[in-house]
Amino acid sequence: MEVAKLTDVTRVYKIGEVETRALNGVSLSIQSGEFTSLVGPSGSGKTTLLQLIGVLDQPTSGKVVIDGKETTDLNRNQRADLRKGTIGFVFQFFALIPTLTAYENVEMPLLLNGKNPAERKQRVLELLDAVGMNERGHHRPDQLSGGQQQRVAVARALATDPKMILADEPTANLDTENGEQVMEIMKKLNKETGTTFVFATHDPRVIKYADRVVTLEDGLIVKDSKAKAK
């Protein structure tokens, strides 16, 4: 089943008089259960592509279909709704809400989805356990290491049981050991739950986990290969 389909997608950023063509007619299809890595040098357009798949941004031209829904004409709130139920995010910086505890950060998407307290509690504990953070649920982000924060971010991304998790350079700010740990957790969740994962990265440690590697250069897909995943 196809969770994301992009057809001839272009994204042009205009800063003053200068136009930057971040994506230049890209077509891509992501199947359910894939563990895909978008790779390429800085400025190749991988983050832009990830943001379009995540409905955080809209293409200048072309079509983006997520979970069978055409997204081009959706307004801000409709896009928020689509994200809420379908997509989870893990960002490069450990994007947790600093005033909330690890537990509350994971709980937030469940709250936004209107889950009742009993359901929320069960799900949060389950997820913290899955990322090995159940001991630290009551800690605030500033009391956690980078690796721990990223694990909480993964748990949060998984909270609403999304079809797809998008991760932008998830290991960029982690040391080798923590980076491997986070990747192991994500790979395990991919296998166990069948959740689709898409990464934008140039970290070889991430690439080696991927079972599909899409290479971008200057806003174009130059290579799309099935890899032998670890």
Binding site: L56, F89, P109, L111
Partner: protein, 404 residues
């Protein structure tokens, strides 16, 4: 985890900044509350003082009488005033009614002199109670033929004390001038220097004889149990060749100022609260800018625009509630304190038909307190709409690329 808890923690990130914003709002509210109480006290005090000392609730005079001229020519006066006053006082709504004869005169002592109003009063009448607070000496009696009462400021300016003599010049009924020596029996104070410095009291009979008015008075001064009944009582005592003026007719300026004071206060409220609102806007805007990325994250995980607005509005609500509660308590305490001790202004030099006591006692009404609190709250919420909307309109991508 709800909006209140989140908002509370967000405010806690910059405790000092949040506290200062709440403080600004609080001080604004407290100041306005005190101003409202002060105005209310001043207006009520001024109205009461003016009615009590100057005009009464009703004045019954000859139809030809002109209060500005102070003439004691017979054609301007009413006859048998004691008898008429007694009849009017018999009316159920009337608290007291007393004749008063007013003439213009000059007090002179050695080589100093001062222009005064000479008021002949019936010393026994309760309507004269406001003059009975004596700094020294005694109140005059009805049969005193050489005694006079003067006010404290006049005594001070002419350096007079009880037992001293003064010369009093009067314009008589025939248009002449007469002069006589009087002995000061007492020095009074009404608490309104502007009034006390320009008036002297004689017993009615003496004033009538001295000015040549004989058995006549300028008007009958009437105090009612309830001033709202002035029109009804006026209608009941219509008589031939009489003019009856109610307190609203006699104090048009004061009534007007009173009516306008509410509009004036609202205007001041809006200005001061507008200024404090900019502090709230500023605090929340800073918060929006600092939390750009966070707003992006919330948006990325599915928080909708209106939920982001709600989050910021709740922060403003908490900030407002804290500030306004503090301000309300402070404003109330300060008003209550000054309601006891008064605010001393002295003689502001205001004369004419509007009198003010030297000390103003603020009165904080429940209505004005509630009005102010509700207005402050509404303005705070309105002010926070702009930063809140701004936060809600951030594109998640741009927000995620934001600072930090």
């Amino acid at each position: 985890m709800n909006y209140f808890k989140m908002a509370y923690r967000n405010l806690g990130r910059h405790r000092r900044r949040s506290a200062l914003s709440a403080l600004a709002l609080g001080l604004g509210t407290a100041l306005l509350m005190f101003v409202a109480a002060f105005f209310e006290g001043e207006m009520r005090g001024s109205m009461e003082t003016t009615l009590r000392l100057n005009t009464g609730h009703l004045q019954i005079s000859n139809a030809e009488y002109d209060p500005d001229k102070l003439s004691v020519a017979w054609e301007y006066l009413i006859e048998n005033p004691l008898q008429s006053a007694a009849q009017i006082e018999a009316l159920e709504q009337v608290k007291s009614a007393t004749p008063r004869l007013i003439a213009s005169g000059i007090v002179s002592v050695r080589d100093e002199s001062a222009g005064v109003q000479i008021m002949g009063i019936d010393p026994a009448s309760a309507a004269n109670d406001p003059y009975r607070t004596m700094v020294s000496g005694e109140f005059i009696t009805a049969d005193d033929r050489t005694g006079i009462l003067i006010g404290l400021p006049l005594a001070e300016s002419l350096n007079l004390k009880v037992g001293d003599s003064l010369n009093l010049l009067v314009n008589t009924a025939e248009g002449d001038v007469d002069e006589q020596q009087f002995t000061i029996r007492g020095i009074f104070t009404t608490g309104t220097s502007a009034y006390d410095k320009g008036i002297v009291f004689l017993p009615l009979a003496k004033a009538q004889a001295f000015s040549g008015a004989e058995n006549r008075a300028s008007y009958i001064f009437v105090m009612l149990n309830d001033r709202e009944q002035a029109d009804a009582v006026a209608a009941a005592i219509q008589g031939q060749n009489l003019r009856i003026r109610t307190w609203t007719e006699m104090n048009q300026l004061l009534v007007l100022v009173n009516d306008f004071s509410n509009a004036y206060l609202t205007f001041i409220n809006l200005i001061v609260l507008g200024v404090t609102a900019t502090v709230i806007v500023n605090t929340l805007l800073m918060s929006v800018f600092e939390r750009t990325r966070e707003i992006g994250i919330l948006s990325a995980i599915g928080m909708k625009g209106r939920q982001i607005i709600a989050l910021f509005l709740v922060e403003a609500t908490l900030l407002g509630a804290a500030g306004i509660t503090f301000g309300g308590l402070l404003g109330w305490s300060v008003s209550a304190y000054f309601a006891k001790v008064g605010v001393f202004f002295g003689d502001l030099g205001i004369s004419g038909e509007m009198l003010m006591e030297d000390r103003i006692y603020p009165i904080l009404t429940l209505e004005s307190a509630i009005n102010l609190i509700v207005t402050a709250f509404i303005i705070t919420i309105l002010a926070s709409l702009y930063p809140a909307r701004m936060a809600s309109r951030m594109e998640p991508v741009e927000a995620l690329h934001g600072s930090n």
